[in-house]
């Protein structure tokens, strides 16, 4: 479990980082918290020639309120997001997801942007980003661009990031009046990647649901927004019958993968259980 030989640079500015990435192209890799990347290197699942450590790039870390909502810098450590009052009040969905990400030691090093850029299909934050309609700020040789979460997560560990680009921040829009969120996941052990999870962000007025997003993770190649099932909520108040309809609709709508912990029927079943457990209290 020793990595193949690699070179290492730690640029002091975003420009230098982008230049280093550009110079080495596909053979380079960004190193953020290293909590996922180092394991893949040690297991020789990947062998980039050079690591570009963005840990010293100024202004990449930190959480701030903006006109549009909240800006979470890519290098912000999970632990800081978890402890942030701003996140708790402005993006409670993210706050409730944080304790489920790995373990405290991993959260001390792992970064918000790293989780988004890695795009693990069972990860919490990509699902939260999709549920909240977050926008990714991306810097590259050609300048800066933003990509909506929906378009950002393309497939298994695949994102809209092009080689040479750095995710610099995630913008989380402000929460509209009457919108509520709920989060739940199932993992065999606390801190493991989820067997299945749900990040829900829905409008609730006077006990009735309106628009909303039910974003599942651990059920496909990327966060899965269950649009048809969520549409059943519109105009309804909570009832067991509604829960059953949504559970049935999810069985139709989701096409989950299987792994050692759960086959597809199990994931379909659990999706309904999570939907009931997350949604019922939101309508109360």
């Amino acid at each position: 479990m020793k990595p193949a030989p690699f070179a290492y640079v730690r640029p002091a500015s975003l420009e230098d980082a982008i230049a280093a990435l550009d110079e080495h192209g596909e053979d380079s890799r960004i190193l953020a918290g290293g909590q996922s990347l180092m394991a893949t290197l040690n297991m020789r699942l990947s062998a980039p020639e050079i690591l570009v450590d963005i840990g010293r790039v100024p202004d990449l870390a930190g959480i701030e309120e903006t006109d549009a909502g909240l800006r979470i810098g890519a290098m912000t450590r999970h632990a800081e997001v978890e402890a942030s009052d701003l996140v708790a009040s402005r993006a409670p969905l993210i706050a409730s997801a944080m304790p489920h990400i790995a373990h405290p030691a991993v959260r001390n090093c792992g970064t918000f942007g790293g989780s988004i850029a890695l795009a693990d299909p069972a990860a919490e934050l990509p699902a939260c980003a999709v549920a909240l309609g977050a926008r990714m700020t991306i810097a590259g040789k050609g300048g800066t661009r933003t990509v909506d979460a929906d378009a950002f997560f393309r497939g298994l560990y695949e994102t809209a990031l092009e080689p040479g680009e750095v995710l610099t921040a995630v913008e989380v829009p402000g929460i509209g009046a009457g919108w509520k969120s709920g989060f739940m996941e199932l993992a065999r052990r606390h801190g493991d990647y989820a067997m299945i999870g749900l990040a829900a962000h829905v409008e609730v007025q006077d006990g009735r649901f309106g628009q909303g997003r039910l974003v599942f993770f651990g059920v496909g190649e990327r966060p899965v927004c269950a649009v048809r099932s969520a549409a059943l909520l519109d105009g309804e108040s909570w009832s067991d019958a509604l829960g059953d309809r949504i559970a049935d609709a999810l069985k139709e709508e989701l096409d989950p993968s299987e792994d050692l912990n759960a086959d597809a029927p199990m994931r379909r079943h659990l999706a309904g259980v999570l939907a009931r457990r997350v949604l019922a209290p939101l309508a109360a």
């Binding site: 020793k2 193949a4 297991m43 020789r44 052990r189 606390h190 086959d263 029927p265």
Partner: protein, 795 residues
């Protein structure tokens, strides 16, 4: 010479350290980062680091090996194949004569013709660093001829199945049949015969410190020095000498600190012998430290049993008979020197153990397969025999409409029935099943817990209570391995010496694995001599400096190694008292040693310090009378002889909740009442029990080496192989009953495996109790959410 020391001289000592939770003497050393683990050992810049090309196939013939690119890679010292290594060592065969009919094939440090499991080391690369060696491993090309893999134990003996070792004729490693009493008569008499099949997945012991070995062959001295994190240095010394054709005194094995072993580090691993061979070939130190990935593929696995069980019971709850038929796949070889038949043998020997019944029949079938090798891991066979027995006892309770506690009370051996023999003929010396169960039910407040469970059930909350009584084999005599021809020492030795300042040096054959053996040894030594523990220096794990001993396995180190220390300490005390008596012109009978000072036995008045005794004996012997020669060093050995094993016993209970929508199980509480005889160190005993329970819970709920039908292990990493973690674990409450063994003065039995033995059974019974309102039963470990949901018919 008269014996200066009375009966119960040890346990009734003034200032006794036995029964106290003294701190571990080695804790500060470890906390300071001054542990001496294998990877900490410096042998200078000439050390070569080994990495292995491991077979990607479960079964494949090794064709041509192209190592040219690897040999030319930067930093590479050598690339060595099995044929080259075979020149300098003799293969081994893992059989024991008392497991009649057990067969296995010769195994080499690296295989010559065929790789027989995925992960088997095939070619060795030695380089200036492990990273360089791994780089070069990727460059070795082997022409594999893939052969059909034998993976399913159920079909391993079918005529159509490939035979792994043609020389053996078939894939049957061993079969044992046992028949005691008259089972057919018992079935005829029974009101109910209940059958159930239990499955125990393959799992493994995950040590914090992986296997590691550093071998240094010094051709100038003709001396092989091996730092090796194993449990039994003397056994390893013998094995290395035998198979590398060396004299035993030319082999020194050092195992100072070991980061957990659990039975994983008590075997002959081919890659470790290959490392020794590489040092001999290259005439330089060679180190191999297994990484996590190769640990999962090469550390022994355990359990992997399918057991059909049967119990015969009368309407009044009297259990008449047990019957089992067990099948196990052990991998491609029987492990050397302990063999891979012992787990099945234990299951045959111990099923039904806590209960008074007379009729028993068993069959155990052990087959070869193309998966990693299986052998002894903590509580060998015990979690299996316990879960089968306790599952069947619960089944008998259901059949007779009896409460699980009540049927146990009726059938557990009476506490006043000892000594007696089990249905299988194994002698029990002194056990306490009834008292242990009573204490357990009291500790958990059984009736209140049942009421709570029943009340919650009406609210749709499904909780279950599970009980499990057990016996555990500890302090094994030579009947375990020695009788079968294995050079595994059942006896242990201790040497104790008074130095010139009155401090005591203790060298013991027992070894430290992180379990706190040094603390236990220090308590016994301090008590036996009469000095405070800080005046002791303990030396373990070095064949050159410790008396011959068995080391740590089968819960023996405290009971056997500790007794040797007690006897050596007793002898040393007598030597000191004789010298002091001469100096004081006093009768030795009137003296004692307390707190490091020779005192008057009756009054406790101080007479002379041990430092003074040491000074006079070593520097001023001229002041002592002519004809008196002081001897201030004593060695004693001990082995149990009356009983083949010191059986211990106990009872565990689990309380858990099942989420019937998700299939998730939450462990709410766990209790263990255990009887290990004399409790030398209450804290360490409880730590053993809790640690053992955790490994038992692992097998019950999480741990499994998952293989596909091609023999590929699918979860050989720490992310996918689920070791139990603190957040999922319940509180574990321990209590004790003390029924000492009368064979030793110390009276201590072992405790290392009790937790692992009973925990899976308790959890299984609790799970099925929780599911009682549904037509769902689970007997196939680990109990995963998916299995629970399937049993409930939800998916």
């Amino acid at each position: 010479m008269t014996d200066l020391i009375a009966d119960r001289w040890l346990l009734d000592r003034p200032n006794s350290y036995i029964g106290r939770s003294v701190p571990r003497p080695n804790a500060p050393r470890l906390a300071e980062g001054r542990g001496a683990f294998v990877d900490d050992i410096e042998t200078g810049g000439r050390t070569g680091h080994a990495a292995f090309v491991r077979s990607p196939h479960a079964h494949a013939r090794i064709g041509s090996i192209d190592a040219e690119a690897a040999r030319a890679a930067p930093g590479v010292i050598a690339v060595v194949t099995g044929r080259e290594l075979a020149e300098i060592h003799d293969p081994w065969v893992g059989v024991l004569s008392h497991l009649q009919g057990l067969k296995s094939a010769p195994q080499y440090a690296l295989p010559l013709e065929t790789a027989t499991w995925q992960g088997e080391a095939v070619v060795a690369v030695v380089a200036e660093s492990r990273a360089r060696a791994e780089d070069a491993v990727e460059l070795v090309k082997i022409d594999w001829e893939v052969l059909p893999a034998v993976t399913d134990a159920e079909t391993a003996l079918d005529p159509a199945t490939t035979v792994i070792h043609e020389s053996l004729g078939d894939n049957l490693a061993w079969r044992r049949n046992a028949d005691f009493g008259d089972i057919e008569a018992a079935y005829a008499e029974a009101d109910h015969i209940v059958e159930e099949t239990y499955v125990f997945a393959r799992h493994t012991g995950v040590c914090v410190e992986p296997r590691a070995i550093l071998a240094d062959w010094n051709p100038g001295e003709g001396q092989l020095t091996v730092w090796h994190n194993n449990q039994c240095p003397h056994m390893v010394q013998n094995i290395l000498a035998t198979h590398f054709r060396l004299d035993e005194h030319r082999v020194r094995v050092i195992a100072r600190d070991v980061g957990g072993s659990f039975g994983i580090k008590v075997h002959t691993y081919a890659d470790e012998l290959a490392t020794v061979g590489l040092s001999l070939l290259l005439k330089r130190p060679v180190k191999f430290v297994a990484d996590r990935l190769e640990s999962f593929l090469s550390d022994i696995h355990a359990r992997d049993q399918r057991v059909q069980g049967k119990v015969a019971v009368k309407d009044d709850g009297t259990i008449l008979a047990f019957e089992i038929d067990a099948l196990s796949g052990i991998g491609p070889y029987s492990m050397y020197p302990r063999t891979s038949g012992i787990e099945s043998n234990q299951i045959v020997n111990l099923t039904g153990g806590p209960y008074a019944f007379d009729h028993y029949r068993a069959q155990a079938t052990v087959v070869f397969q193309n998966k990693n090798m299986m052998c002894q891991y903590r509580a060998v066979g015990h979690p299996v025999k316990c879960a089968v027995t306790e599952g069947l006892v619960d089944a008998a309770a259901r059949a007779t409409g009896m409460d699980p506690a009540e049927i146990r009370r009726r059938n557990l051996r009476a506490d006043d029935s000892y000594p007696c023999k089990s249905a299988q003929g194994l002698p029990f010396e002194n056990l306490s099943h009834q008292e242990s169960l009573a204490k357990l039910l009291d500790a958990m407040d059984y009736d209140a817990l049942k009421a709570e469970r029943d009340a919650l059930r009406t609210e749709g909350v499904y909780r279950g209570i599970g009980l499990a009584s057990f016996i555990e084999v500890t302090n094994p005599s030579a009947m375990f391995y020695g009788v079968g021809g294995a050079r595994i020492s059942a006896q242990d030795g201790a040497t104790m010496r008074l130095d010139a300042r009155g401090n005591v040096f203790v060298a013991t054959g027992a070894t430290e694995q992180g379990q706190g053996m040094e603390a236990v040894i220090s308590q016994v030594a301090a008590t036996a001599v009469g000095v405070p523990p800080e005046r002791l220096k303990i030396v373990t794990g070095d064949t050159e400096h410790t008396p011959y001993g068995g080391g740590t396995w089968a819960s023996r180190a405290a009971g056997i190694g500790g007794e040797a220390v007690a006897q050596a300490g007793r002898a040393l005390r007598q030597q000191i008292l004789r010298a002091a008596a001469v100096m004081l012109q006093e009768e030795a009978e009137n003296l004692d040693i307390r707190g490091g000072v020779v005192v008057e036995r009756a009054s406790g008045a101080e007479r002379i310090g041990l430092d003074e005794v040491g000074r006079v004996c070593y520097y001023r012997p001229d002041t002592l009378p002519d004809g008196f020669q002081s001897e201030l060093v004593a060695t004693r050995h001990y082995v149990p002889r009356q009983y083949p094993f010191a059986f211990t016993n106990g009872a565990q209970a689990s309380y858990l909740e099942v989420d019937v929508e998700t299939g998730f199980i939450s462990l709410l509480d766990h209790w263990c009442i255990e009887d290990c005889g004399t409790v030398i160190n209450p804290q360490l005993v409880d730590e053993q029990i809790r640690g053992g329970i955790v490994q038992g819970l692992g097998g019950a709920l999480w741990e499994q080496c998952v293989y596909d039908s091609d023999g590929q292990m699918l979860n050989a990493n720490m992310a996918d192989y689920l070791v139990p973690m603190a957040a999922e674990l319940p509180d574990m409450r321990c209590g004790h009953v003390v029924s000492p063994t009368f064979e030793s003065d110390l009276g201590a039995k072992g405790v290392g495996e009790a937790g692992t033995c009973g925990a899976p059974a308790a959890v299984m019974n609790a799970l099925n109790d929780a599911l009682a309102p549904f037509a769902a039963r689970l007997t196939d470990m680990p109990f995963t959410p998916q299995k629970v949901l399937r049993a409930l018919g939800k998916i």
